[in-house]
């Protein structure tokens, strides 16, 4: 299918239409609005740690190529600091899209880490422990 979105032409591969619809549903965001300006990646303070920059994640989703981003490290590096969303000229809340990707993994009963094996709980502030459990474990 040929789509004209914001002046750019995308050939949608439709490889994973169902998953993409799921991401749209969970995030409530319109993936097709992204026109690849890169403001999100420019603003992201942890972009240098990601193998897919935030705008690249958007590109993969637009193309319907979901699995690579779903299995990426990038989605777990994002902590939702909202730098991307606050600078997106198209008003896309990319933090919500990252959360949707993590949520799909977590709802498949995936645990990013086992917190009790990783650290001594008493060494860390409670906010970090609770947030880690909520964001990283199923």
């Amino acid at each position: 299918m040929l789509l004209n979105g914001g002046g750019m032409i995308f050939y949608l591969k439709e490889r994973d239409r169902e998953k993409r619809e799921k991401i749209k549903e969970i995030s409530g965001e319109r993936i097709d609005r992204c026109y690849q300006c890169g403001c999100c990646s420019a603003g992201c303070p942890t972009a240098s740690e990601m193998e897919f920059l935030p705008n690249t994640v958007m590109m993969y989703l637009q193309e319907g190529d979901i699995e690579p981003v779903l299995n990426s490290r990038a989605i777990w590096i994002c902590v939702g600091c909202y730098e991307c969303a606050s600078r997106c000229p198209q008003g896309i809340d990319i933090a919500r899209i990252m959360e949707a990707l993590r949520t799909i993994k977590l709802r498949q009963n995936y645990d990013r880490l086992r917190i009790e094996e990783k650290v001594k709980l008493e060494d860390y502030p409670t906010i970090a422990l609770v947030a880690t459990m909520r964001k990283f474990t199923a």
Partner: protein, 292 residues
């Protein structure tokens, strides 16, 4: 002035210094912070999915109880509690179907009328007391101490909850100026410190902190000021790691804005406060002089 305040988990454990200094500083300003009864976890990280109903019940239960106590304002001191409670409150007020569902589901609590406003302590001081009053109370001046104000993410984003301008906030700088410090601007002041990645990916946080400290140092900062217990923990702890691994790395001590305010008002502060600091702030504070 009596105000209801929500402490949250970390102010009772790793960030006791923040709670103690905030309560004492408030007392100096003529505000009595009254801890709300029966508070529970704020949720710590706002869930960003559209089907996040269950995640909102924790923060909303706090707001229901605050409303029951007759409070129009619920003060928060921790940035993360502020963000989570504020956003749950906002979602509740903005979405009638969500409102209905919450009240139907939590039938053991009275319906929440949405009369509570979540306000951060710093904003509260600015609006209700004014930094001029803070300035009057200060008896010791910092003698030109250069202070870098680190906001982090939770006080500024998303845009709706920002306690000041989202890209160029000055509220902490104005505060520093009012207690006689010299606020220095630096590029990373509104960036994220790495947040809860401190457990899963400590190196990511260390890299963030390296970037923040380098940026602050270029501006000549001798002290970093924050209001967030997680920023404080990450910046303090990661600097110990960075000092061990990077030759020539010079750490900058970090303090809560409430601690520095008390220091300037009283000229001394309970040593127990700094027991939680890994990077000692004393050398930076040693230049303190009595105000003429």
């Amino acid at each position: 002035m009596k105000l209801l305040y929500y402490p949250g988990c970390t102010l009772k454990t790793k960030a006791k210094a923040l709670e103690e200094s905030a309560i004492e500083f408030a007392r100096e300003l003529g505000i009595e912070l009254i801890e709300m009864k029966e508070w529970n976890c704020c949720g710590t990280s706002f869930n960003l999915t559209t089907d996040n109903f269950m995640h909102q019940l924790g923060p909303l239960r706090n707001l229901i109880r605050a409303e029951k106590l007759g409070a129009g304002i619920l003060t928060t001191i921790c940035s993360i509690c502020y963000s989570t409670l504020w956003r749950a409150n906002d979602k509740y007020k903005a979405d009638p179907s969500f409102t209905h569902r919450v009240n139907f589901f939590m039938d053991e609590e009275p319906d929440y009328k949405g009369t509570v406003e979540v306000v951060h302590f710093l904003r509260l001081i600015k609006d209700k007391v004014g930094f001029d009053r803070v300035n009057e109370l200060v008896r010791f001046r910092l003698d030109g101490l250069k202070v870098a104000c680190f906001y982090g993410c939770q006080l500024l984003r998303p845009r709706e909850l920002a306690i000041d301008d989202i890209e160029h906030p000055t509220i902490l700088e104005d505060f520093v100026a009012s207690i006689g410090g010299v606020p220095v601007d630096f590029a990373e002041k509104i960036e994220c410190c790495g947040n809860y990645e401190t457990i899963a990916e400590p190196q990511v946080v260390a890299n963030r902190v390296y970037s923040i400290i380098s940026s602050a140092r270029k501006s000549g900062a001798e002290l970093i000021l924050t209001s967030c217990p997680l920023c404080h923990f990450n910046i303090d702890k990661s600097q110990v790691l960075l000092r061990e691994t990077i030759a020539g790395f010079k750490p900058i001590p970090i303090m809560y804005f409430t601690e520095l305010a008390l220091y300037c008002i009283k000229g001394e502060y309970a040593e127990s406060s700094f027991a939680q600091n890994l990077i000692d702030p004393h050398p930076s504070l040693s230049r303190m002089r009595t105000k003429e």
